[in-house]
């Protein structure tokens, strides 16, 4: 699918919305106004937007810890996502799950787990279901660089490869797994190089270039829709501006100030904005409009979250099992 001017503006808006959401979350967390510990994706917005833009409702996404953009682009409203972070009673998770691992199967989003790498096998299962049901759905599975060192990653990519499943593994290589540099955890130059070991295509793209991410994923989707399907591994090289979480101050214990500043110069949003401006697609007025719209949307999301009720304590034991009554209905 080639991107129209309208598509490009929408992608830009998703990136701005994601950043506004994340910075607001950090602000609220620092002031004790939101209970969920924030693990923000500022600096990585191009990955989720580029990978999910153009996906259909029926396509499946398995988010990672830092996939805020993926949730928004795939259709979870900022209000619901915000309310989840507040532990409020949303239909989607009812205070039982965090916003980071939210699921909504009606939007094709499977709830991830808090175990790094632990969600990857489930994404393989979703792709297996599309193969068995002979649908043309694809599954996009997100994870960080750290997850590629877990057994679950290796078992899952290999299984998807031998079963020829319609899945795209998207590694958000933000250079750090908590405080461990990828340089100290993977000797291969590129994480995508690992794909060769499973006999599937692996590509490394500039994860701060939203169009590069989009094109890589679209090309992988075509391979996933081949008969037999071919899974792909796409490594998006990007950078986490903030700490692992909001309790991890940017004190340069495991990285340098210079490194952070150098990556900030490559800000995915500024870069895309510059490109769109140069192409005459965005002007200052539209930029201001988008800034204002997204600011208002997030303000409303916070208000919605604050005003939403907490879940009923009487429901805490529900949903561990399907009960006989639920099964019959």
């Amino acid at each position: 699918m080639s991107l129209s001017k309208d598509d490009l503006i929408k992608m830009y808006r998703w990136m701005v919305l994601t950043r506004t959401f994340e910075l607001t979350m950090n602000y609220l967390f620092d002031r004790g106004r939101v209970p969920e510990l924030q693990h923000c994706s500022v600096g990585q917005e191009a990955v989720g937007v580029g990978a999910c833009y153009g996906l259909r409702r029926e396509d499946v996404v398995m988010p990672s810890l830092r996939s805020r953009a993926a949730f928004l682009v795939k259709g979870v409203s900022s209000k619901i996502l915000m309310a989840a972070a507040f532990g409020k009673d949303t239909k989607e998770c009812g205070g039982k799950n965090t916003s980071h691992h939210l699921g909504d199967l009606s939007l094709g989003i499977i709830a991830g787990t808090g175990i790094v790498g632990g969600s990857i096998p489930l994404a393989v299962g979703a792709a297996l279901a599309s193969k068995l049901k002979k649908t043309d759905q694809v599954t996009v599975c997100f994870f960080g660089d750290g997850a590629t060192n877990t057994g679950n990653f290796h078992e899952s990519v290999n299984l998807a490869a031998v079963l020829r499943l319609p899945i795209i593994f998207v590694c958000e290589n933000n250079q750090y797994a908590m405080g461990t540099s990828v340089k100290n955890s993977v000797l291969a130059e590129n994480i995508a190089d690992r794909a060769a070991g499973y006999g599937i295509p692996g590509v490394t793209v500039d994860g701060n270039d939203v169009i590069a991410v989009y094109e890589a994923v679209q090309s992988a989707i075509e391979k996933a829709k081949d008969v037999p399907a071919q899974p792909s591994l796409i490594e998006c090289k990007t950078y986490r501006w903030f700490g692992h979480s909001q309790r991890d101050p940017v004190d340069c214990r495991y990285r340098t100030r210079e490194e952070i500043e150098a990556w900030k110069i490559r800000c995915p949003i500024e870069r895309f904005k510059g490109y769109l401006r140069a192409e005459g697609i965005l002007n200052e007025e539209v930029i201001r409009e988008i800034d204002e719209e997204t600011r208002l949307e997030i303000e409303e999301a916070v208000k919605f979250a604050e005003e939403s009720p907490y879940p009923e304590p009487s429901k805490v034991l529900d949903d561990n099992y399907v009960t006989v009554l639920e099964a019959q209905s």
Partner: protein
């Protein structure tokens, strides 16, 4: 009615459910071309093909995770983990995903899946012999089933496949060859319902899997001495049929729990705690547990015979309790 081995009863259950429901498929190591390590899935590959009887690499975690993901998307996987010992390699997927996905979705996800696995000592060494069912009973969100005879095995497995929750289905290797009668027509055995395999007045024996047969042998021996055992086959450990156990103990006044799993942290402790609470005033003797001692399972036959609960162990403890 027809005579059948337990292993074939299981195979029939899977086959009939695959015919009944297109969403049912089999996935695991050696389940297809090879016919299953214990031949449970024999014949299915030829009948249903590679798409519905999926051979996988040796990747327990990915097998279970793939089954969970497929179940979330509307399929009904029957995953095989060759030996229960190997299920430890998939414990993250069982504990953190299968059991929790529905809760994480506030009830808007359903994980209808079965994980079958062979357990128990048969002289195959430390890592192919364990009985670790209690570890799984400690996970809210999954059901745990252990059949002992062909009739139950087929009926329970059908119920497990039709159940909308993740069900762990544990088969003792030494029960595979046991024969018994089953109906020719379709039937199920409900999950969560114990079965009194032998009624009696003097002592309740609560057990499951292979140990049901040892308890029944012990009952025959004790009957000669005028002592009646009531042998309750739990069949399902989660959900537990507490009523069946408590009512029996109220009648007999005595409870012995027999399991092949080692004692500490075994499920017998849970059952003992329930009975001590619910039938305290009815007990005429302390609750006894006949189990394997806390040990790694050895290889040599004579060492195995020293530790695995036997008919004689049950008889001896029963005599002490009733003496």
């Amino acid at each position: 009615m027809k005579e059948i081995t337990l292993v074939r009863a299981l195979g029939e259950a899977i086959r009939e459910e695959m015919i009944r429901d297109d969403a049912v498929f089999v996935i695991g190591e050696e389940v297809g071309v090879y016919g299953g390590c214990f031949r449970v899935t024999e014949g299915l590959f030829g009948e249903f093909g590679a798409e519905r009887v999926i051979d996988t690499p040796i990747s327990e975690s990915a097998i279970i995770g793939a089954a969970i993901g497929a179940a979330a998307m509307g399929m009904k996987p029957v995953a095989e983990i060759m030996y229960q010992d190997f299920a430890t390699l998939a414990i993250d997927q069982i504990l953190n995903c299968a059991a929790k996905i529905r809760y994480m979705h506030a009830g808007h996800a359903t994980i209808p899946m079965v994980i079958r696995s062979a357990y128990g000592a048969s002289g195959a060494g430390a890592h192919h012999s364990q009985s670790i069912e209690a570890m799984f009973c400690h996970i809210p969100g999954v059901k745990v089933v252990v059949p002992s005879i062909p009739y139950d095995a087929k009926g329970l497995l059908k119920s497990a496949i039709r159940d909308p929750n993740p069900v762990l289905f544990f088969e003792h290797k030494l029960t595979y060859g046991i024969t018994g009668e089953i109906p020719s027509e379709d039937y199920t055995v409900p999950l969560g319902k114990a079965d009194i395999k032998l009624p009696g007045q003097d002592l309740t024996v609560v057990t499951w899997g292979l140990m049901v047969h040892k308890a029944l042998q012990a009952a025959t021996e004790l009957a000669k001495r005028g002592i009646e055992l009531e042998v309750i086959d739990m069949r399902t450990l989660v959900p537990l049929d507490t009523t069946a156990v408590v009512n029996s103990v109220k009648k007999t006044g005595r409870l012995m729990i027999v399991h092949e799993a080692c004692k500490t942290g075994g499920y017998g402790g849970e059952i003992a705690a329930i009975v001590a609470r619910e039938a305290f005033g009815y007990l005429d003797s302390p609750i006894e547990r006949v189990t394997t001692p806390d040990t790694t399972i050895p290889f040599s036959r004579n060492l195995l015979e020293t530790i695995i609960p036997s008919e004689k162990n049950i008889v001896d403890v029963a005599l002490t309790m009733t003496g």
